[in-house]
Homo-oligomer: 152 residues x 2
Amino acid sequence: MKLEQAIQSTKFKSETHKAGLNILYTAWWLKTSFSQALKEYGLTHEQYNVLRILKGKHPEQMCVRDIACRMIEKSSNVPRIVDRLEIKKLVKRSVSSFDKRETMIQLTAAGLLLLEVTTKKADELFDMQLCVTDEEAKQLNELLEKLRQKEL
Amino acid sequence: MKLEQAIQSTKFKSETHKAGLNILYTAWWLKTSFSQALKEYGLTHEQYNVLRILKGKHPEQMCVRDIACRMIEKSSNVPRIVDRLEIKKLVKRSVSSFDKRETMIQLTAAGLLLLEVTTKKADELFDMQLCVTDEEAKQLNELLEKLRQKEL
DNA sequence: AACTAATACATGTATATACATATAAATTGA
DNA sequence: TCAATTTATATGTATATACATGTATTAGTT
């Protein structure tokens, strides 16, 4: 669907301005289908993201700060997301012996299992939902990274 | 910044998978600088979005549903965003005389004034922050719209 | 060692997102 | 016409985002 239809607006200040809105809309669209797919497993996409990050180091533990800096949305409140994962017994908290300020997080067996199932679903969704060739995806990645030259 | 640095991850299942994450990250990045710019005016970017939509029809009024379907994030709770704008006297609510179920929303003079100032700021930000040529932006728009072929 | 600053995390608050439910008004159709 | 359905909005709840503050621990300085 054209952006014009999606947000019922036809006049944009420039192609660049339109690109900005197009990125925001596409991200919403992607997040929505992703969340939908995770719903039957009782996970939000932020919770899934934390589990994925933990998997990267598993069976090692990770501290909250290390998780936070790997999150897509940097302003995520990781302690609170971990709270919810802990209630569901998908992760385990423990105080670091190195540095008692640090809380170490580790996937449980249940977390690992759930992650395997949901990852399969999530990967399928990405492949199905995103209709671009490998070459186009590469081009898209280059354009997005150029666009973000000016850092925060 | 490369996505790899941004989320400290080097292995992606495919270029397409990376593109998905890249879109999500870029949207977060854009939303963040946008919100930052609006902050000194006491507006969130959703509140700004509603004001912009209202401006499109001003001085006519719009009903909640019409605003909602023009929002970038379709799951936005427009009545609640309008609540906050109303408290700040930036918009005015009234019951439609056509259909008493509809609530009509209209920009106030204060809302219109604030919008003019913030729009200037926001447009400047878009121009400054998004480092692509017109041609690249056009390409980006085409790629995003192709990517979204499979609708929700 | 004791004081200060910095760090890591938890927690609090306001707003937003996502979705379910409630309420009132309009529409449909028997 | 009146009951049932649909529509428009409001409201409630859980989670997330964005940011400020609190608390414990570590690191740095004198």
